[in-house]
């Protein structure tokens, strides 16, 4: 057995031992798709030329998705990937949030071309019962931080470390689903916003004990990912705390919204 392991190890070349001829890559817990929108994507019809041809944003046709069609119209699919190596190839060839136009969004959501595509919309089946952790940061003070914050947010998402216990098993014996469906960075003239979307949101009575798990995601986001102290006050002009709101409460536009703050 030891010899077998030895032989096997010799035929495995990661990008660390051979950056150009590696033969294995590190699969991610889920495939991911990056989406983008900005004023410049509005009404833009793709593809424009044969040489830049790529598929028109293909969207899985589920009922929830049909309802989100207006919202999704101007959001462009950039690329899907399912390995660590592909993530970095993308990261190193795309622009960071600090260089985006002033009203733009990156949406990194689970799903690839073939598998469980979650679109960045409340209406998607995977999002409709969920909510989001978010933080708003003044643009001026955070121009130098936002790129690192977004990178660390993406790494916690694709590395699947936001949810300490991905235990949403569907009983099929397959690997369980985690709470996270996607992450977003938004640039605005006055501020940046980072968000983590979750599959579920705690109910008022919290009969399923979900609140503790959701709060765990928020604390990890605030301390390990964004680098703040636990209990540190963050709210202020143009700034918010790290706060959770269910999508259903977001739709009510503030009325009777129950925010969780970590």
């Amino acid at each position: 057995q030891e010899v077998d392991m030895q032989t096997q190890a010799e035929s495995i070349r990661t990008v660390f031992s051979d950056p150009t001829n590696f033969n294995v890559k590190h699969p991610l817990y889920s495939p991911w798709t990056l989406w983008f929108d900005s004023p410049a994507t509005k009404g833009r019809n793709l593809p424009q030329t044969p040489s830049s041809a790529f598929p028109q944003t293909p969207i899985p046709q589920t009922p929830g998705v049909a309802a989100a069609q207006g919202w999704m119209e101007d959001i462009k699919r950039v690329i899907s990937f399912d390995s660590v190596e592909e993530f970095w190839g993308l990261y190193n060839n795309i622009i960071p949030p600090s260089q985006l136009p002033q009203k733009a969004n990156y949406y990194l959501f689970k799903g690839g071309m073939l598998q469980e595509g979650i679109i960045p919309a409340w209406e998607d089946e995977a999002n409709k019962n969920g909510g989001k952790w978010s933080i708003q940061l003044p643009r001026d003070k955070n121009r130098g931080n936002v790129d690192r914050m977004w990178l660390y947010t993406m790494l916690a998402a694709i590395g699947e470390t936001f949810d300490p216990a991905p235990i949403l098993s569907d009983g099929s014996g397959k690997a369980p689903k985690s709470l996270i469906t996607g992450v977003i960075v938004s640039t605005r003239p006055q501020f940046y916003r980072l968000s983590i979307w979750t599959r579920l949101a705690p109910s008022a009575t919290d009969e399923d004990g979900l609140r503790e798990r959701i709060e765990g995601v928020g604390r990890h986001f605030k301390t390990s990912v964004l680098g703040f102290q636990e209990g540190q006050k963050l709210g202020g002009p143009l700034a918010t705390e790290v706060e959770f709101l269910s999508h259903k409460d977001s739709e009510k536009k503030g009325k009777s919204a129950r925010k969780i703050i970590v």
Partner: protein, 97 residues
């Protein structure tokens, strides 16, 4: 539209495109100085579904720089860098999402 028309000669597929997915993290040898993925995060890993800590992931940053074959031209989707001064005139609020 025709994604295939006007195609130029296909370059050889990159290592990125042909490399296979690791099935068992424990069989992977890492060179000295490279930190292995966290064992704790992968105790009950199934179906090649692995979790990775940030320190492990960051080690790829300076190595994996090749542009993915399937990345569309960024200007075609309106994804172009702006300087600090560009776009200052635009100032509308967000959607709230």
């Amino acid at each position: 539209s025709t994604a295939k028309s006007g195609s130029v000669s296909q370059p050889l597929p990159s290592a990125l495109a042909t490399a296979r997915h690791i099935e068992n993290l424990e069989t992977v040898p890492y060179p000295e100085g490279i930190k292995s993925p966290s064992i704790d995060l992968n105790r009950n890993a199934k179906d090649g579904k692995f979790r990775y800590d940030r320190a492990f992931l960051l080690q790829f940053m300076e190595i994996c720089k090749e542009k993915p074959d399937n990345l569309p031209p960024l200007d075609a989707i309106g994804l172009e860098p702006v300087g600090d001064q560009a776009g200052l005139a635009m100032s509308r609020g967000g959607s709230g999402r």
